[in-house]
């Protein structure tokens, strides 16, 4: 926990402070705080119901915190709607991809650039997406539902990039995908990050997380229980027990 105090407030791109979030009467997050620094690749780890997706959805404005605040580039976004948050520069690649199945690959990508700021950069971002995932350019006129699982995930990430984000939230991109496909997705994520886009990702695969992330937060039953660099986390006995089984 003492790793929290090392981070200074002013250099955070995103600062989540002490939020409580409810699904109806069920409290999903308890006093959660988290900071994302510009340019880093930050992971959220935790069991299925730990609240990782809830946290991403709250950052995206699909849910609103009952207590606490969320600041993006120093601006309080806790009460904003999702479309306003996308425009500020946070895009989410949701769990299960949630593509528009009956629309073409290209139309899915174009919809990613719906917010006003992204529209003017549409062609430029489209070229970038095709550079990361050339297969999408080959398949641009196909319906999204006809793509393979891996290609659909590429499209979901590409669609998120079309929003011209500063911060990208990725929810369980590895779900149901073969390791070889994942290697390609994470190679693309590293390229994306090298272009200066900050990444916050949720990942079930702890080994993969500790390989890819600069830092990670561990959520348990809606609370942050640990955070730190992969090396620091691996030293923690709790983590080893819970996530590595040793």
């Amino acid at each position: 926990m003492e790793k929290h105090t090392r981070e200074t407030a002013h250099d955070a791109l995103l600062k989540v402070s002490n939020i409580d979030v409810f699904h109806g009467s069920f409290q999903a997050l308890w006093d959660v705080s988290l900071e994302v620094k510009p340019g880093e690749m930050l992971a959220l780890i935790g069991a299925n119901t730990a609240g990782k997706s809830t946290l991403l959805d709250t950052i995206s404005g699909l849910l609103h915190p009952a207590k606490g605040s969320i600041e993006f580039e120093g601006r309080n976004t806790s009460a904003l709607d999702p479309f306003q948050i996308v425009e500020l520069g946070i895009s989410q690649v949701p769990e299960g991809r949630r593509l528009f199945p009956e629309m073409s690959v290209l139309d899915n990508l174009i919809l990613g650039s719906y917010n006003r700021k992204a529209r003017s950069k549409r062609e430029q971002n489209l070229k970038q997406v095709y550079r990361h995932f050339p297969i999408l350019e080959d398949r641009k006129n196909q319906l999204a539902k006809t793509l393979s699982g891996g290609q659909q995930q590429m499209l979901a990430i590409g669609r998120g990039l079309m929003a011209d984000p500063k911060l990208m939230l990725l929810d369980e991109i590895s779900l149901g995908l073969a390791p070889i496909v994942l290697d390609e997705l994470y190679r693309a994520l590293r390229e994306i990050r090298e272009r200066g886009i900050t990444i916050l990702f949720v990942e079930q695969n702890v080994r993969r997380t500790l390989q890819e992330a600069d830092r990670a937060y561990i959520l348990e039953s809606g609370r942050v229980v640990l955070s730190g660099t992969p090396a620091e986390l691996q030293e923690e006995e709790e983590v080893r027990k819970a996530y590595f089984g040793v």
Partner: protein, 300 residues
């Protein structure tokens, strides 16, 4: 030979009349497809458009005849320049101020609101324009054109052309524009749409507005084709449901074919069973489709 030629008249009339039914059904289909909202006021909103055109042509309102407007005598088709934006605004407002809140409450709330709107329109129209049957009757509404030996009312042809134009325009709009794609996206996955930066409430309001703009066109051509009164909306709502049921929801081609089938059912029903039975045949066809293929001919 004469028999076959006799059949050609109801065939052609049925197909052309189907165009009018397509026009009426398109707005209902759009609102259901996007918002999953059954707008039982759709028929009345169509008739409201008809009455707006009627007022702009005749100047009649609350038992008075406003001679300024009567002298202008704006042609019904020309009046669309005014009636389309007017109904668009009404539709936009209905969604923005009434439905958007109701959609969050329950499935029944928007249905009840639509039912209320229906009653309000019917009763207001009775006050403003009396319960009497009216018609939009510029000279061309009474003319016929001939195909070989067949004489077909000119307005039937105009109905069909209007349906084609509106359908193609709507299709291109949904396919090519950002707003159209957003409407499409919000109808497929509301949550994903909002993560794309789409303001669903705004998109819904536009979708309702566009549906009502199409209803305005439907209303004007309806008034040119059939006589109407303040409660006519109900029977045209049923026809619009029939078109969607027969054609299948969410398919524009289905809506088009559905309109043709109901148009043909009506004209052939009239031909074989007499004028009193023509609507009966139409309803029976809807029932048969519901029983045999409930998702509609082109439905998934």
């Amino acid at each position: 030979m004469t028999d076959l030629l006799d059949l050609a008249a109801p065939l052609l009339r049925g197909i052309l009349l189907g165009g009018l039914y397509v026009l009426i059904a398109l707005g209902l289909s759009l609102v259901f497809g996007v918002m999953k909202l059954i707008n039982v006021a759709h028929g009345d909103l169509v008739i409201l458009g008809t009455y707006f055109a009627f007022f702009l042509m005749s100047g009649e309102l609350l038992g008075h005849k406003y001679s300024v407007i009567a002298n202008l005598g704006i042609d019904p088709i020309l009046s669309l320049v005014i009636v389309i934006p007017l109904l668009f605004a009404i539709g936009y407002a209905i969604q923005k101020f009434l439905m958007s809140r109701a959609l969050g409450i329950s499935m029944e709330a928007p249905l009840l609101i639509a039912f209320g709107i229906s009653l309000i329109i019917q009763n207001t129209a009775q006050k403003l324009w009396t319960p009497l049957s009216r018609g939009l009757t510029p000279t061309y509404a009474l003319e016929c054109f001939t195909v070989g030996v067949l004489r077909i009312p000119l307005i039937y042809l105009l109905d069909f052309i209007a349906a084609l134009v509106v359908m193609l325009a709507l299709r291109e709009f949904l396919k090519r524009t950002y707003l159209g794609k957003a409407i499409n996206a919000a109808s497929q996955d509301k949550r994903a749409a909002s993560l794309m930066g789409i303001n669903n409430n705004r998109v819904y309001a536009f979708a309702f507005g566009i549906a009502m703009a199409i209803a305005a066109i439907a209303g004007v051509f309806l008034g040119l084709t059939f006589p109407f009164n303040p409660t006519s909306g109900v029977s045209f709502l049923i026809i619009a449901f029939g078109v969607i049921i027969v054609g299948g929801l969410g398919s524009m081609l289905g809506t088009f074919i559905g309109g043709m089938i109901l148009g043909l059912a009506q004209t052939f029903g009239g031909y074989f069973l007499g004028a009193t039975a023509q609507m009966l045949v139409l309803y029976v066809i809807v029932l048969v489709v519901l029983a045999v293929r409930p998702q509609g001919i082109f439905g998934r």
